[in-house]
């Protein structure tokens, strides 16, 4: 049968189980749109290609499966770059397909031509420019295989218009790509050594990262923690693996970790680092990170082992089989002294929270939201102070309940990603916790949200500033404020109404908590504006480059440790 390149693309996507694509049409990808119009694949129109990329990310982050975004050539492709770079930093399986000018025009500065191949090179796991329709038959399955195998990551496929229109005869379709089997720990010697190190440890800690979530072994990790009495810290990407309210959970470590968390790391003698990359936000100064500990580092990506921190035992493997081996062979262990010490630290060095009476204090607000929202909720945030407060204080119960931009820290991530999450999980309530700065960056997606009537509740923690910049200028730049959008604020509730989304302003509400609950519980999209004290800071804070022990607790540098 005769198929055009565009029809081949759509057919191969269908065979990979793709049931929705987010994109924006343009001259260079109209043949693909024509093929899509005959397909069962649902098309979601974004209002900016960056929005399309993040909507696809939302689908991928919450399902763990590859998701597809589609853009035209030139500005369409360049607008996708931020979302692809973001997926690259957080290891998200994103497939970006872009139209390109016809092959004969490439390199002539044609209308809407950009070197998409060159632009995507450094921010993808791999990328291609397609030279013939026949190439698509091997390329598209390969793109999917790469995106979801080993350490997941984004891939980009640039398809010139003539290739989309080229017709060829196809008799057999290639098998859809499956995830390849990850590196499995092959030398049992390493596993035995891990077992031995665990048996010898007196004060072990788990450091749980995004790799545990990708691996799907969160239950085994939690079981091992309980069985062997190993308290756990989470990196930003690892939140949700251990239920937030469990005694063994020490919360997020690093730059904005609670004092007790960073103090426990100072005292531990064995760090089991699972699916982490020792990012500077987590470790502080790596040379002074966990000074007393031996380190077991397990990661599926060999290049991460011994990159930042040398490990006494590094294992290149999917986390799951390593955890299973420990679970099967380590037996049960009680560590009453270590657990007592952990409980002591938690009690005496908690997250600092003055102003318990203020219902709009960030921690109080987040607590209220978690109590008043429907139980089945997923939390997506934007970037800034609100993001850090949420990471510190929201009680996550399961993996992929927490969706946030970690490695790239992209403002504007929140709303479109929340849309993607809601499309993928229609029975959940999606809480999009955002800031007044971040929300403006992809505001146009309110129209997309209104169009699909999704269960997304945007909570704007509005302090009328770029809060985290203001914080840094206060602490490190002599309080010389510039570029923080000082005390300007849009009337977000009215703006939402104008775009077809219910808007609620708690600042002018007679009974804010009742209005908050009503807005969270009612079906459909809503935006809730909440006034936040502009001077509130995210604390503790480890200054960039300092050690995790040099935490700023109350606007003055205090050396932690001891009583």
């Amino acid at each position: 049968m005769i198929y055009s390149g565009a029809e081949i693309v759509v057919k191969l996507l269908e065979r990979q189980g793709i049931d929705r694509i987010c994109g924006i049409p343009g001259g260079a990808n109209l043949p693909i749109y024509h093929a899509l119009s005959h397909s069962s694949i649902q098309h979601i129109l974004a209002r900016h290609e960056q929005g399309a990329g993040f909507i696809a990310q939302g689908i991928a982050r919450v399902s763990g499966k590859p998701a597809v975004c589609l853009a035209s050539s030139g500005p369409g492709a360049t607008n996708l770059l931020t979302a692809v770079a973001d997926a690259n930093m957080d290891s998200i399986p994103l497939i970006a397909i872009t139209g390109q000018v016809p092959s004969s025009l490439i390199g002539t500065d044609a209308f809407q031509e950009a070197d998409t191949f060159g632009l995507m090179l450094p921010i993808t796991k791999h990328n291609w420019i397609v030279r013939s329709a026949r190439e698509l038959l091997t390329l598209i399955p390969e793109a999917f295989r790469l995106a979801m195998s080993g350490r997941p990551g984004p891939v980009a496929i640039d398809i010139p218009k003539d290739v989309q229109m080229e017709k060829i005869d196809i008799r057999d379709w290639p098998e859809p790509a499956l995830k390849t089997i990850a590196p499995q720990v092959s030398e049992t010697g390493n596993l035995d050594r891990a077992l031995q190190m665990l048996q010898n440890a007196k004060r072990p800690l788990f450091m749980i990262g995004g790799g545990v979530i990708h691996s799907g072994c969160h239950e085994a990790v939690f079981q091992l923690a309980r069985q062997q009495s190993i308290p756990a810290v989470a990196t930003f990407m690892g939140l949700g693996v251990i239920p937030g309210d469990h005694d063994l959970f020490l919360g997020m470590l690093g730059m904005h970790g609670a004092r007790y968390t960073n103090m426990a790391l100072e005292e531990c003698d064995l760090l089991i680092a699972a699916g982490v990359r020792f990012d500077d936000r987590a470790t502080g100064d790596p040379e002074r990170f966990c000074p007393q500990a031996q380190i077991i580092h397990v990661d599926i990506d060999a290049s991460e082992l011994n990159k930042i921190k040398p490990a006494q035992l590094s294992i290149n493997s999917d986390v799951a089989p390593v955890i299973q081996h420990l679970l099967d062979n380590a037996g049960q262990r009680f560590r009453p002294q270590w657990l007592e010490r952990i409980a002591y630290l938690k009690q005496h060095f908690p997250l600092h929270w003055s102003g318990e009476q203020d219902q709009f204090h960030p921690y109080a607000l987040l607590q209220s939201i978690s109590e008043l929202a429907p139980a089945r909720n997923i939390v997506v945030t934007d970037v800034g102070q609100h993001q850090m407060w949420t990471a510190q204080a929201y009680p996550f119960k399961y993996p992929r309940q927490w969706i946030s931009s970690g490695g790239l820290g992209t403002m504007g991530f929140g709303l479109p990603t929340a849309i993607g999450v809601a499309l993928s999980k229609p029975e959940h309530t999606v809480l999009c916790i955002s800031g007044d700065g971040s929300l403006l960056m992809n505001l146009q997606e309110l129209d997309t949200l209104a169009e699909h009537r999704l269960n997304v509740k945007i909570i704007v923690m509005n302090n009328q500033h770029l809060g985290l910049v203001r914080q840094q200028q206060t602490l490190f730049y002599d309080s010389r404020y510039l570029g923080i959008n000082n005390q300007r604020s849009v009337d977000f509730a009215s703006l939402a109404q104008a775009m077809g989304v219910t808007g609620v302003d708690l600042q002018v509400s007679a009974s804010p908590m009742d209005d908050l609950e009503a807005a969270l519980q009612a079906p459909g999209p809503a935006l809730i504006n909440v006034p936040i004290d502009p001077e509130a800071m995210v604390l503790p804070m480890v200054p960039p480059g300092a050690s995790n022990q040099e935490m700023i607790i109350q606007q003055s540098l205090v050396q932690a440790g001891g009583q």
Partner: protein
């Protein structure tokens, strides 16, 4: 005289699939990892589906990490350290010096 020009002492032999853009992938990786490429010799091999790329680099303690990152590139088949191949660069350098001299 030509050995003075070549001061770096490490060579990586990178065997790659000869796909469009593979050299861009390699050079882009080294650039964004801030690892200087002092010299590059690239020749197709066999039926030209494979290419040998020799990279002249300075050993500065980060070489192991750079080799691991290069191995991750999809079109890279293998990365080997072959410091003895500095002679390749010296030889090319000498030939270029000779051809300039005869102009």
């Amino acid at each position: 005289m030509t050995s003075d020009i070549i001061t770096s002492n490490s060579v990586l032999q990178v065997t790659v699939k000869n796909h469009a853009g593979v050299l861009s992938h390699i050079c882009g990786l080294f650039a964004r990892r801030a690892y200087s490429i002092e010299g590059i010799i690239s020749v197709p091999q066999g039926d030209t589906s494979i290419m040998q790329v020799y990279l002249l680099v300075q050993e500065n303690g980060k070489l192991d990490q750079v080799m691991r990152q290069t191995q991750k590139l999809v079109d890279v088949i293998s990365v080997k350290r072959r410091d003895q191949d500095v002679s390749l660069f010296q030889s090319v350098s000498a030939q270029l010096a000779d051809s300039v001299a005869t102009l």
